[in-house]
């Protein structure tokens, strides 16, 4: 069947199998491979993208369902050589190691902060219940989300390290 999606601002029309998952449309048809597949039970969130501005797990959306709608992937964040504040926060806070969960994590946080611009740590953690990471222990991902929420234009993110000369850093 024919589907017609707007992905990162660009219209893409393609003839695909009815059962094609949105994540495979993005990776194999739109050739945007940042979005990753990490599981097959809608559990891990590695495939998270924005659908009409809200986070969804693209492995559990049919390309057909997304036809006529707008999708934003990691590649569509930021622009003109500048990083989106969440991307920048991940960089400054060492919120990624292997990078595989990262696109989904970033998109989930973009959506989270849109709906709750100043979350508490607990709200960030609960908001990320659908996104698994195996490398970071989530500690710096949470710091990145909090930094992005208090940073941004006019604000300054917390320092990369919690300066504690008494030798405890957290």
């Amino acid at each position: 069947m024919k589907v017609d999606l707007t992905v990162n601002g660009k219209d893409i029309t393609a003839d695909v199998e009815d059962r094609m998952l949105l994540v495979h449309f993005l990776r194999d048809v739109a050739d945007l491979t940042a979005t990753n597949v990490g599981c097959d039970t809608t559990s891990c969130g590695a495939c998270t993208v924005l659908l009409d501005g809200e986070s969804v797990k693209s492995c559990t959306v049919l390309a057909a369902q997304a036809s006529g709608h707008e999708v934003t992937t990691l590649e569509g964040l930021g622009g003109n050589g500048t990083m989106h504040p969440v991307q920048r926060a991940f960089h400054e806070q060492h919120g990624l190691q292997c990078g595989f969960c990262t696109p989904g994590m970033v998109m989930a946080i973009v959506s989270l902060l849109k709906e709750n611009p100043h979350p508490t740590e607990e709200q960030v953690r609960t908001g990320l219940e659908g996104n698994l990471c195996r490398c970071t222990g989530y500690h710096n991902i949470v710091r990145a989300a909090l930094a992005a929420s208090s940073g941004g234009p006019g604000g300054s993110p917390p320092q990369a390290s919690t300066e504690m000369p008494a030798e405890v850093s957290s």
């Binding site: 969804v56 559990t60 959306v61 959506s111 659908g130």
Partner: protein
Amino acid sequence: MIPSTFAYMRAGSAEEACDLAAEYGDEAKFLAGGHSLLPLMKLRLAAPEVIIDLGGLRDLSYVTDQGSYIAIGALTRHHDVEHASLLARELPLLAHAAGQVGDPQIRHRGTIGGSVAHADPASDLPAVLLALDATLVARGADGAREIPIGEFFQGLFETSLEPGELLTEIRVPKPAAAGWSFQKFTQRAIDWAIVGVAVQGQNVALVNMGGTPLRAVGVEAALAGGASPADAAAHAAEGTSAATDIRASREYREHLARVLVSRALTEAGTRAQ
């Protein structure tokens, strides 16, 4: 990982959805948010040949005040149920519980109607609607009908919806008693409830204590007889048939039910003041 082949059809209206369902019969399944059906299809535990996508039926997404009850369109997403200010005011139990379903991404897609029609006894909203004495409105080839929620859940993943019938609305009476509580016991935040309890006033419903959501009839009878929350809670497991699985034994579930009912009644009591 990949569903087996099917033909996708997008319904433009509830009427068209019902017509398509009548035409394709057993071969077809409705697709609402897709977060109950698609996961099953991806594991090939379900393989409908025709999918009727209801996603375009925006007119079935609403939360409105109908005087004695709140009307919620079946295609209202969990996210919207969670954040509806009308529900925060009138049905905080439902708003709160909707915010506990799955994760934020799932709540952006999953719908209250889809969850109810799927009838997984481990789901949160069926038990909540049972505690709230909701009425469901279904539309089929023969027109619309109302189904009291007490008659809706028939068994594991089984409802009294006829083939081809489409859930269109959930009607929730405004509660007489203000106190409410939702106790969802999980090991991890993302997990399905090992056991859950929904309380509105003296209505007590249980998540995952049998093949369907259940009213804790023993507890309700005790409360009606003047028992304290702690004493009433001792009856929580009566009439239940909790499963034993990798998360919990039946015995542990029955124990949790007693503890959670006690906590829920206490919290509801505090809220009622």
